[in-house]
Amino acid sequence: MTGAAAIQAASVTPVLTQRWPHQPWKLANYERLDGYAGLRQALRQTPDALIELVKQSGLRGRGGAGFPTGLKWSFLPKDVGAPHYLVINADEGEPGTCKDLPLMMVDPHSLLEGAIITAYAIGAHQAFIYVRGEAVHAARRLRQAVREARAKNYLGRNILGSGFGLDVVVHAGAGAYICGEETALLESLEGFRGQPRLKPPFPATHGLYASPTVVNNVETIASVPFIVRHGADWFKSMGTEKSPGPKIYSISGHVKHPGQYECELGITLRQLLELAGGVRAGRSLKFWTPGGSSTPYFTAEHSDVPLDFEGAAAAGSMLGTTAIMVFDETTCIVGATLRFIEFYAHESCGKCTPCREGTYWMEQVLRRLEAGEGTEEDLSTLLDTCDNIFGRSFCALGDGATSCVVSSIKYFRDEYIAHVRQRRCPLASHASAPLAAQGVH
């Protein structure tokens, strides 16, 4: 997509967020804004036709991996004698990612409507929404929506007279980032420690209770009713060829207006920064993440990379969850990376040795580097550790932990070296905190 086209694209009518200004968490408002119209349309079609529709739309998972949603649904075996389950991953916790909580808070019925359509398509009569424990407010809002939907027969044994029945349970987690990994989430939902399973077999055949299961992200499921109502071609008219559709980009950090920005996939950081008012006054962009802490850093030179699955990958990072964390030049790269690694060390479930030990030792090395007590050899130690973590664990948590380390050394080796040679952090501390720096409070 060219720059001009993309800017124009950025100002099209919002899709996922179109109801947000109208208090859609109130069911009457949601219904007035064509809420549950997609469900009525879907129930008149066959499940297979719906799966085909979502396949044709090109919708890809919004939880980070970007797997084609319709294809995932089509993997569920039929007639195996086990019930099918739909599990919605609302365990939002990837640093930088903050799109699903507002979506559930503002427009919970859009998630429910998508869940009912999806369950109908895959033949599931039981769905679970696994909400991270710390998001009590979102779980409360969802439970309220479920109660309202039940009262209006959008949920129940015979939904809108279709003969199709579905029950939705909102299940709160208990504080573990790893449960955002789909098999760890299933373990947790079954009442175990949230530790990932070896794949294959995949959840499509051996998921919840070893039964065929679809696990999808909140934003993915909330996209489904719009596809049902407007069609695959409409969906593909947005975004790029291989990454179609709208996407909520979460912009945080050193920008003028942090927030949720719904744009077509393929928009660039330069355009997003324009929408968000630019980097805060008097400062310039130093580094940023395209999709949360598990995606390698980008710098100002990547400002025109198209942010779709292909574009981000081609430039050496990943689209992830489109969590754009923006840091200006007051931010110490070593300190920022250390904090991410402390996070991964804390959240590693401990099952696989490379991840458990690797994140622990990287934390120790980064800590001494940040304190000005490191050596230049520490850099090769870090990179060597990353080599021994990447690709050697059951899930992607360990892989994600290497992203910030490898990319920070790639782009900011000089700053690491400065920490070693000056025996301290070369940056003035606290300047990165805008409230303090501006003397606002």
């Binding site: 950025a10 507002p102 503002v106 709208p246 949720q260 606002v440």
Partner: protein, 241 residues
């Protein structure tokens, strides 16, 4: 004597008071899959005692036909199950990279110094437990802290200390999202899936009193679109329909 993973509570767990709720939790899950009830059940026993005790472990084990070791293995895995008595208010300050850089670390440090407690420790008066939290998925409002998991957005060190001062004075400042503050035991009950545990009525109803601020109708995409997530009872729209 073997070292106990979980302390014996001063007051034994009143199992009779919890049994109906526990069965209601188990009934949410498919027949024969009662173990799925374990996480909400642990929130439930925490709502009775303020932390997970040896009694709470035994209660879960008995109802779900598990061993106490199996239950303890699960409860020790998750951060939100506390192993020591927790204060009336659990203050979680996000110190992950984004919040940390924007002032969260300073808030945590100053609160820690002022309260005289470190991570996961409780003030002597039993009012406040402090912890530093990992990413709370609110980076657009960084730096954030939560009180009993209710969010206070864009909190610098001074605002953090003001919130704590109010709590210690017996007041309950209103969070920036959702319903009014409640005690740690009551929020644990909500985590177990019950919406009847909030002072002043139903939490979800109170959430519905929130006023949308931010984007107005007709604005194009690209404006900050977190409308509805920012709540204020002061400007509440009391029409619940």
């Amino acid at each position: 004597m073997p070292r106990r993973v979980y302390p014996t509570p001063r007051q034994p767990l009143d199992e009779g008071a919890l049994i109906d709720d526990a069965n209601a939790i188990i009934a949410r899950y498919p027949a024969g899959r009662s173990r799925s009830a374990l996480l909400p059940m642990l929130h439930l026993v925490q709502s009775a005692q303020g932390y997970v005790t040896s009694d709470g472990i035994a209660f879960c084990a008995k109802l779900l036909h598990l061993t106490r070791a199996e239950v303890a293995a699960v409860s020790t895995f998750y951060t939100m199950y506390k192993r020591r008595p927790t204060g009336e208010y659990l203050i979680s300050v996000c110190t992950n990279t984004m919040c940390g850089v924007l002032g969260g670390q300073r808030s945590y440090d100053e609160l820690s110094e002022q309260l005289g407690v470190g991570h996961n420790q409780t003030t002597a008066d039993g009012v406040i437990t402090l912890e530093h939290a990992e990413c709370l998925a609110a980076c657009d409002y960084a730096p954030v802290l939560t009180v009993n998991y209710e969010f206070f957005d864009q909190v610098d060190a001074d605002k953090a200390k003001e919130i704590v001062a109010q709590l210690r004075a017996g007041k309950r400042p209103h969070p920036d999202r959702g319903g009014p503050l409640c005690g740690f035991k009551q929020i644990s009950r909500q985590l177990a899936g019950f919406d009847d545990a909030v002072v002043g009525g139903h939490a979800a109803d109170n959430d519905n009193l929130c006023q949308v601020v931010g984007r107005e109708a007709g604005d194009v995409a690209g404006e900050p679109t977190l409308a509805g997530n920012r709540c204020s009872v002061a400007t509440a729209d009391r029409d619940n329909t």
